[in-house]
């Protein structure tokens, strides 16, 4: 059953929820939009918020997190796990980023469960906020995402003027709504308005990619060095497009001992960095074009081979934030439809 709430009352709603959850909401300290711990007052983001610079995956896969501490005493090494984190409620996550969470769940679930990610993820509630003003870099609709609709959140909010329509999506969302006070029942008119808002938002997304048969297309041109060298020419091998991507999850593990206290950290890593794959004697992706190829193919070919979904949600961050305007939509669109030049794979390792 859809409900609604006046925008003025969002502050009350969040305060109510903050009894059970740590609330994260869009904030822009120093001009950088990120999901930050809500300060208990500010709901101004309803006016300025389009999307965060730092993707909300950072709430589940932080840029840096402690895996465990270790210390040596008379009896040898002792390992100590960090305390369990708080239950998070992410308020205002966009449908593209919510889908991204569902996509990277695949990596952290499976044969081996990743407790750091899954503990945070399983205890969290995602409250989606429909995006009514998609940017020129956004291309979510090409990847089967609608900017103001989502099945990947627990609750979905839609801006219908002075009010937000509140729709429960998941069982957790229904449960949350059932014990939330201060929501009014939505009218037929409200729901019709929301439908219109969603449609308008969908049509505002003008950037398109041609993801048709992309796995096959990329497989066919995988060995076309000339193509990839051209694509990679202006890339500067920084980590912006990967570290800030909502679906990039690759990480690194490092140890440190500081004043006798040992800690093992995990931090995000990027396939754009040459050291990412560097072994002492050789590096399979020392060349820039190979790293760019890996990035594109991981998202649009390898990941769907393993998990069906393309690991891109068209959030547009990589397009917006790239220092040299390397635009993945242009790259994907330029991957030839037909069989490209194929390297002959004989004679063992290439």
């Amino acid at each position: 059953m859809a409900k609604k709430i006046n925008k003025r009352d969002i502050i009350k709603l969040l305060n109510q929820w903050s009894k059970d959850f740590a609330i994260f909401a869009p904030s822009r300290e120093s001009g950088v939009a990120a999901m930050a711990k809500w300060d208990g007052k500010d709901t101004e983001f309803l006016d300025w918020y389009r999307n965060t610079v730092v993707a909300p995956k950072a709430n589940f896969l932080p840029n840096m997190e402690e895996m465990f501490k270790f210390q040596k005493d008379k009896e040898g090494y002792r390992i100590e796990l960090p305390p369990d984190g708080e239950k998070q409620l992410i308020f205002g996550i966009r449908p593209c980023d919510a889908r991204a969470m569902k996509i990277i769940d695949n990596n952290f679930k499976g044969l081996y469960q990743d407790p750091y990610y899954l503990n945070k993820r399983n205890s969290a509630v995602l409250v989606g906020l429909g995006c009514v003003n998609p940017g020129e870099s956004c291309f979510c609709t090409s990847l089967d995402i609608s900017p103001a609709e989502s099945d990947d959140v627990d609750l979905m909010l839609t801006d219908i003027g002075n009010e937000l329509l509140v729709e429960p999506i998941s069982a957790a969302g229904k449960k949350l709504i059932a014990k939330t006070t201060g929501l009014k029942a939505a009218t037929k008119n409200d729901e019709a308005k929301a439908k219109e808002v969603k449609k308008t938002a969908y049509n505002k997304v003008t950037r398109k990619i041609n993801a048709e048969g992309i796995v096959e297309r990329l497989t066919a041109c995988f060995d076309d060095q000339e193509f990839w060298e051209k694509v990679a020419a202006k890339c500067i091998s920084c980590g912006i497009c990967t570290l800030l991507c909502p679906t990039c999850y690759c990480f690194d593990i490092n140890d440190e001992i500081f004043r006798q206290q040992g800690t093992r950290f995990r931090s995000l890593d990027s396939c754009a960095f040459p050291v990412y794959t560097k072994m002492p004697m050789e590096n399979p992706r020392a060349e820039k074009w190979k790293r760019v190829r890996q990035k594109v193919c991981h998202k649009y070919s390898f990941f769907p081979m393993s998990f069906k979904d393309i690991a891109c949600t068209g959030c547009g961050r990589c397009v917006r934030l790239c220092p040299v305007n390397w635009d993945i939509t242009q790259v994907i669109n330029s991957v030839p439809a037909k069989e490209a030049k194929k390297r002959v794979k004989e004679g063992g390792r290439g």
């Binding site: 980590g239 040299v324 305007n325 242009q330």
Partner: protein
């Protein structure tokens, strides 16, 4: 100007005088350009020069092999000269298209002035000392001092000194004092506050290394942050390590940094990096009367010395 650039660039490729052309072409977003790095003479038709040519193209010289025709604004020409000083590129392998640059428009500033996102603006034009924005059918004007990048307002060499072909007429420096405002403000703080400021700013750093990778002066094959034996800093984004990275990066590029402002522009989390680089630029200017990238025959800053200098740093 663009026509001349296109035909000259095409001719260079056709005559085999260069292997590569590096310039700017229109970007995929509004008011952007993107580096064009090509061997194909037909691509030269896409070359542009406009108030949005932000990148420092000298950055690509260290990875490209062969002879290069390169478009260079004042700051780029200085970066190129600096690379020549460091023996990173050879002057004879370059054909430099000098572009007198009256300053590049800072879209972040316009976003604040217009209270709109950049993709919501319809038109941006530069007229002498004003920048004119059209949006929602309304026109507004701002003086360049509010609309250009800080480093452009502080630019000492808008017209390249080192070039082969100059495109257009020389343009004078703007020399607007507001460019150093943020550094002045910082200097008014007590030391503890300054340090706390940087600790906080650097705590946003995600270690994407865009500041380093976009910098023509950062040309190390392997950066010290990637060293493992010993591991100087943790290769993970913790503010202490982030700050050490920035401090050492600035010391490494001392005398190479030409205040092109790219590091600050590209930072996705808006760390005011130019308040570091520009201060270093001024420090070496003050201590050693050194201006990077002005004289290709000069020694690099830190390989040179005078017998009498900087003695007050020593007991």
């Amino acid at each position: 100007m663009e026509q001349k650039l296109r035909s000259e660039a095409r001719a260079l490729l056709e005559e085999g005088k260069v292997d590569w052309i590096i310039g700017f072409e229109p970007g995929s977003l509004k008011f952007t350009t993107t580096p064009l790095i090509t061997k194909d003479k037909n691509d030269t038709e896409r070359l542009v020069i406009n108030p949005f040519i932000t990148n420092n193209l000298a950055n690509f010289l260290t990875e490209i092999k062969g002879r290069v025709g390169i478009v260079a604004k004042g700051c780029e020409s200085r970066s190129i000269v600096s690379l020549i000083q460091d023996n990173k590129v050879a002057r004879e392998n370059l054909v430099i298209f000098g572009v007198p640059c009256p300053g590049i428009i800072d879209l972040s500033k316009l976003e604040r002035l217009a209270a709109k996102n950049r993709d919501e603006l319809d038109e941006i034009t530069r007229e002498k000392d004003r920048v004119i924005i059209k949006a929602d059918g309304k026109t507004s004007e701002f003086p360049v001092s509010q609309a250009l990048f800080d480093h452009c307002l502080a630019c000492e060499l808008p017209t390249p000194k080192e070039y082969d072909i100059l495109l257009g007429e020389p343009t004078p420096p703007i020399a607007n004092p507001t460019a150093q405002e943020s550094i002045k403000k910082l200097k008014q703080l007590v030391p503890e506050e300054r340090w706390a400021f940087w600790a906080k700013e650097l705590s946003r750093c995600v270690r994407c290394y865009a500041c380093r990778n976009v910098c023509p002066a950062c040309f190390c094959q392997r950066c010290f942050v990637e060293e493992t034996e010993p591991q100087w800093v943790l290769p993970a984004p913790r503010w202490q390590d982030n700050l050490i990275f920035q401090i050492i990066r600035n010391i490494h590029v001392a005398g190479r940094c030409t205040d092109c402002g790219e590091c600050e522009r590209v930072c996705p989390v808006k760390i005011p990096l130019r308040s570091l680089t520009r201060e270093m630029y001024d420090i070496v200017g003050e201590l050693f009367q050194f201006k990077s990238g002005m004289d290709k025959d000069a020694d690099p800053l830190l390989t040179h010395y005078e017998e009498q200098e900087a003695e007050d740093f020593f007991r």
